[in-house]
């Protein structure tokens, strides 16, 4: 083989191999999404697991690996993955919102609250963080705190029923029946068939 042929072959490989790898990665992501949609979380996680250590999307792969482990009930692996994502990017709100889920599944309400409050310190009206924090306050049975939180948040999201459900529960657990009824009635205006609200109001 002449020198020219060798140089040409090497140049072609240099162009084709990264292109092939990119195409393969693209398939990996789409295949992983498809497997997740079919409930095959373990296989979906296994596909993107090699991408966590390098490449442009290693951070996304790490976050997704955490999410897919959470869906499998591998809460400790999920927490570990989200912590890795945080080590990589300490500004990540995604990682903080994500790690709250397995922590909440393990009823580690205080630890989950800590991460959610960190999100709210950066993004004070982040709806997802607020709703998850309210779930933690419910888990900790901090009814006064939950009532104040839900009442304040409902001013920012006046059309939202979920916040009013938390408000109603907090009032109900404090024995404030009239306030709880009023909150559940507001829930029913927004979601007319809401089972929990109907059940409480029919008591």
């Amino acid at each position: 083989m002449s020198l020219m042929k060798i140089v040409f072959t090497l140049l072609m490989l240099g162009v084709l191999i990264p292109t092939a790898a990119k195409a393969e990665n693209k398939n990996v992501w789409s295949d992983s999404y498809a497997l997740e949609a079919n409930g095959k979380y373990e296989k979906a996680a296994a596909l993107i697991a090699p991408l966590r250590d390098n490449g442009n999307e290693s951070e996304l792969a790490t976050l997704r690996y955490g999410w897919l482990n959470y869906l499998q009930g591998n809460f400790n692996d999920a927490i570990h993955a989200y912590k890795q994502a945080l080590e990589r990017n300490n500004r990540s709100l995604d990682a903080r919102l994500g790690i709250a889920l397995p922590l909440m599944a393990q009823q580690r309400w205080n630890e989950a609250s800590r991460y959610l409050k960190q999100v709210l310190a950066q993004s004070p009206y982040n709806y997802v963080a607020h709703v998850r924090l309210m779930a933690c306050e419910e888990g900790l049975r901090k009814w006064e705190t939950l009532a104040k939180h839900a009442l304040s948040l409902s001013a920012s999201y006046p059309s939202n029923a979920t916040i009013l459900v938390y408000l109603a529960r907090a009032y109900a657990w404090q024995g404030k029946r009239e306030l709880a009824k009023a909150a559940y009635q507001r829930v029913l205006v927004r979601v007319p068939g809401h089972l929990e609200a109907r059940r409480y109001l029919n008591q």
Binding site: G73, N74, F75, N76, D77, N90, R91, L103, Q106, Q107, R108, W109, N110, E111, R114, K117, Q118, A121, Q122, K142, W143, E144, T145, A172, W173, Q174, G175, K176, R177
Partner: protein
């Protein structure tokens, strides 16, 4: 990029909270990495008991404080101190100081549907007992427990080794089972007390005792007319001597043979962070040496504050 860390005690919502606050500055982006990670609880408690039918004993009074600190949901420690005074009909009172320390750590394993808690308890007691028999008591007591996330099943196994002066050591085994019923409104728990004594002469001729402590707890629905949060009925059946109760941070070093008890506990949630508990009950005892059976009718009060 600069990272500054600091610890401080800060006030939040009017309540003093011990918080480890680490502030990170990342590219001018401040993130509170840990805020209010420690939660602190204080128990102030007092008890008075009057002996009925005892040939020797008159009354028992006790007061104490327990401070507990927990780091997030991972574990924590408790420290307690109490002062107890036992008065006799015909001899000098015993004044006693008791100290208690507890460390606990939670393990969350995906293979288990709930956390495992590893706990180590220690007790030290000194008093002015002129015989020295109940003075300088040391207890070490490990325990492992499990409760499921649904809070319908609890199991633990505890061990306590007590060392008394003048050739006496006591081994105690306490297997426990708890069941949650009625969507968490009721809780039934039974704890066995299997106690082996190294020197029966020091234990009213008992080489071993066994008893079972049964508790039924009921949480009331909110809005009840009595505003009560919880009620508990407890009964002890069987016999026990030199028992160690880590839940109550108590060692029964001054007691004769306990032959059963019955108590009723009522608890109110005064505010989100303040609870009041009162207990009234009766304990039956036997002094085997002089053949004297008697009762201790007691009342107990406890204020718990979460900081």
């Amino acid at each position: 990029m600069s990272i500054k860390t600091r610890m401080k005690i800060y006030k939040k919502n009017g309540a003093l909270t011990l918080g480890a606050m680490m502030t990170l500055f990342v590219g001018g982006h401040a993130v509170h990495a840990a805020e209010g990670d420690w939660s602190v609880k204080t128990d102030l408690q007092a008890m008075y008991g009057n002996y009925s039918g005892s040939l020797q004993r008159n009354s028992l009074s006790s007061s104490g404080v327990i401070v507990s600190a927990d780091y997030l949901d991972k574990g924590g420690f408790s420290l307690a101190a109490n002062f107890t005074r036992l008065t006799y009909k015909a001899s000098n009172a015993i004044n006693q100081q008791g100290y208690f320390a507890n460390g606990r750590y939670k393990l969350y394993l995906d293979s288990l549907p709930g956390p495992l808690t590893l706990m180590l308890n220690g007790h030290y007691i000194n008093n002015n007992d002129i015989t020295g028999n109940t003075d300088n008591v040391k207890v070490i007591s490990p325990q492992v427990s499990f409760i499921n996330y649904a809070k319908t099943f609890y199991v633990d196994f505890g061990y306590a080794r007590s060392k008394y002066q003048h050739n006496l050591s006591v081994n105690q085994y306490t297997p426990t089972l708890g069941i949650g019923l009625n969507n968490g409104a009721d809780w039934v728990q039974a704890r066995g007390y299997l106690i082996q004594v190294s020197n029966p002469l020091r234990a009213q001729n008992k080489s071993s005792t066994s008893a079972i402590d049964v508790k039924w707890s009921h949480w009331f629905a909110p809005g009840s007319w009595h505003h009560m949060e919880k009620m508990q009925l407890a009964g002890l059946f069987g016999e026990r001597i030199y028992a160690v109760d880590n839940d109550a941070a108590a060692v029964y070093n001054l007691a004769d043979i306990q032959r059963g008890s019955l108590s009723l506990s009522l608890q109110w949630r005064l505010t989100e962070s303040l609870h009041l508990m009162v207990i009234g009950g009766n304990e039956r005892y036997l002094n085997n040496v002089i053949g004297n059976a008697y009762n201790n009718r007691f009342a107990y009060i406890d204020f718990t504050t979460n900081w």
